[in-house]
């Protein structure tokens, strides 16, 4: 190549197409474009739009008016506490129940029937579970009848149209979700590690405490986050099974009402943003503490 003729050199250098291909961009890479555009248009753009809109109050006022209103109106800001009061206990309970069950089920040879039954409430969805629980947990439902027959209670317990109705529905859809996630983490650990611990003198509790727990903590943290986020966004069951104007007025109800009943999209977006930030805050806090734990392959290390 003639070094004195740079123009010719460029002409004979790699074409744009070749240079792009060297960086991994070619016709195959372009296949990702339609899906990416869709996600940008229907996910990123609405989020950005909502974010901006939340600073343009419908009723006028300065750019922070929506947020100021939210945090000064007890009817609005209390929704955060009410939602947390539902989501945190339910998520902790689900995780607490899921762990021992997952450790037991891991020993089963045929897990499929159990996992299939547990997938039912997730598949059927919250609306159907709400309708079912309205009957089942109601004053004349089978649940109260059974308790009364056994003489455990004399009056039917009030289990629907209050906190406990929503709690029960979050338990019945949330437990299988938490359990199946936990199970996939638990079965991902090499059983030889437990055997090694046993031959070294660790009893069942010590094996859990010193081998399984440290290896599972990151998985538990992720499970907690995903389960919490699901519970925090509770919506239909809070309306149908709870007191949507009172104790179970969760944040998603407030957001939906603002946007689609008062047609104040600006306020609705502001509440949705607040909801997102609370979820993000808890997730970041949990995942940050995850940095304290071992993260890496949970099998016996191989060379």
């Amino acid at each position: 190549m003639d070094a004195l003729a740079p123009a010719t050199t460029i002409d004979h250098g790699p074409s744009l197409r070749q240079r792009l291909a060297a960086n991994g961009f070619d016709a195959v890479t372009l296949l990702v474009v339609p899906a990416a555009i869709l996600s940008l248009l229907l996910f990123i753009y609405p989020f950005a739009f909502g974010f901006v809109l939340s600073f343009e109050p419908k009723a006028g006022g300065d750019w922070l008016a929506n947020y100021r209103r939210f945090f000064s109106d007890a009817f609005l800001y209390e929704t955060i506490a009410k939602t947390l009061w539902l989501a945190v206990p339910v998520t902790l309970l689900n995780l607490l129940l899921a762990v021992p069950v997952a450790f037991r089920v891991r020993l089963m040879r045929r897990q499929r029937l159990l996992t299939t039954i547990l997938v039912l409430p997730i598949t059927l969805g919250t609306v159907l579970v709400a309708e079912g629980l309205l009957n089942y947990l109601g004053p004349q439902g089978w649940f109260n009848r059974t308790l009364m027959t056994f003489g455990l209670i004399s009056q039917p317990l009030k289990l629907v149209h209050n906190y406990w109705g929503v709690f029960a529905s979050l338990l019945i859809t949330g437990f299988p979700f938490t359990f199946l996630l936990t199970l996939s983490y638990v079965t991902g650990i090499d059983p030889a590690l437990e055997q090694a611990a046993a031959t070294l003198g660790a009893n069942a509790w010590q094996r859990f405490r010193h081998v399984y727990l440290p290896l599972l903590m990151p998985g538990f943290a992720i499970t907690f986050c995903l389960s919490f986020v699901q519970a925090f966004s509770v919506f239909p069951s809070a309306v149908l099974l709870g007191e949507p104007a009172g104790l179970t007025r969760v944040i998603s109800i407030a957001a939906a009402q603002a946007a689609f009943e008062e047609y104040d999209y600006s306020m609705g977006s502001a509440i949705a943003m607040i909801m997102g930030f609370v979820q993000l805050g808890i997730v970041v806090a949990v995942l940050a503490s995850r940095g304290l734990f071992y993260r890496g392959p949970a099998s016996g290390a191989k060379g």
């Binding site: 090694a196 611990a197 070294l200 010590q206 290390a301």
Partner: protein
């Protein structure tokens, strides 16, 4: 040396059986392991050698028989109560604990005081020559180093018995030879008692004081490496010990521990290793080393050479006989593929076995 392994006289397996699942089945395994012995359990995959080891460790319950450590019965104890040290095939190092914590795990479970624990872990580190690596996680170690951690972790608890489940199978060939010597050195330095599971007869022959050959969940032969190598008791043990040429024939005569077979019209005589009766079918087993290319005559059979490979000091050839038996032989001179030669063996180097009964054996 203060790592002092618990003293005892013998470990006795008394008709140990395990019935779950066809592949895992063990039948009446009886075996006595004396103190300071290095025992290799040898056999093809699925023969029950790992199952035996897991039963001794307590990781699998036995369904019949008993395991005794001197006068105390251990098969009813949970694995954590037995106190045996075990080295796993993939090492099973705790990935979240560093080398020091991995080695100290068993001591910690026993509530050993910190100072004593540190001292013992340091000694174990020195024994496996891993000083300076104690703060690394298993993922940062090479295969050979992980192997050393696994061994240190098993011996630091001063077990009466060290169990090793194919510990070298994940290493490359060079490292395998090196670690083989290491394992024997550590065994000797500690005066340990070791049960070592392997499917590699080279490993078993070079490491063990005694070898137990298992097949289909049954003990086929127990003996020193020399006994097994020179006098395998059954055809399948011989096969495992490198008797690669097996010729089927009819027993013509049996006399003074010698048997003469008729193989495709040729007379092959050898040492009878099993009870044989004239007229029955039997196998003559010969190592490739013991075959020589020669003239027609006694103990020789005509074969057609298929391939001949140059191996430096000698040639390795394959051939087949008119009756379809395949041969592997060594030769000092090249023979032409396609040519017909006679392969002959000393009758002292030919072993004759009864035809295995169909089915389980």
């Amino acid at each position: 040396m203060t790592i002092a392994l618990s003293q005892f006289d013998e470990v006795r397996l008394d008709r140990v059986s395990r019935d779950f699942g066809a592949l895992n089945a063990l039948r009446d395994i009886s075996l006595t392991i004396r103190r300071r012995e290095f025992i290799a359990l040898l056999g093809p995959s699925g023969c029950g050698k790992s199952t035996t080891l897991n039963c001794i460790a307590g990781l699998l319950p036995v369904t019949g028989g008993a395991i005794w450590l001197d006068k105390s019965r251990v098969d009813t104890l949970r694995p954590e109560e037995r106190g045996f040290g075990m080295v796993f095939q993939n090492y099973a190092l705790f990935p979240h604990l560093n080398v020091r914590q991995n080695i100290g795990f068993g001591l910690k479970m026993r509530g050993t005081p910190k100072a004593e624990m540190d001292r013992k872990v340091n000694e174990a580190l020195a024994l496996v020559r891993l000083q300076g690596q104690e703060n690394k996680l298993p993922g940062q170690l090479s295969g050979g180093q992980q192997q050393r951690v696994a061994i240190a972790r098993a011996i630091v608890i001063e077990p009466p018995l060290v169990l090793m489940d194919e510990p070298l199978s994940n290493l490359d060939a060079k490292l395998r030879l090196e670690m083989r010597a290491e394992i024997r050195r550590i065994h000797n330095e500690l005066g340990a008692t070791t049960i070592y599971v392997t499917h590699d007869q080279d490993e078993a022959l070079s490491l063990a004081d005694r070898i137990v050959v298992l097949r289909d969940g049954v003990v086929r032969q127990v003996g020193t490496p020399k006994e097994l190598y020179e006098a395998p008791a059954h055809l399948d043990v011989a096969d495992f010990m490198g008797f690669r040429n097996k010729l089927k024939g009819k027993v013509v005569a049996v006399e003074n521990g010698r048997a003469v077979l008729d193989v495709e019209g040729a007379r092959i005589s050898g040492v009878a290793r099993e009870r044989l009766s004239p007229g029955s079918s039997a196998y003559a087993a010969i190592r490739p080393d013991d075959l020589e290319v020669g003239e027609a005559g006694p103990n020789a059979i005509a074969v057609t050479v298929d391939t001949i490979e140059y191996r430096g000091r000698e040639f390795v050839g394959t051939a087949h006989s008119a009756g379809g038996f395949d041969f592997v032989f060594r030769s000092h001179q090249a023979v032409e593929p396609g040519s017909t030669v006679y392969l002959r063996a000393d009758d002292g180097r030919v072993l004759v076995f009864a035809e295995p009964t169909q089915g389980r054996n």
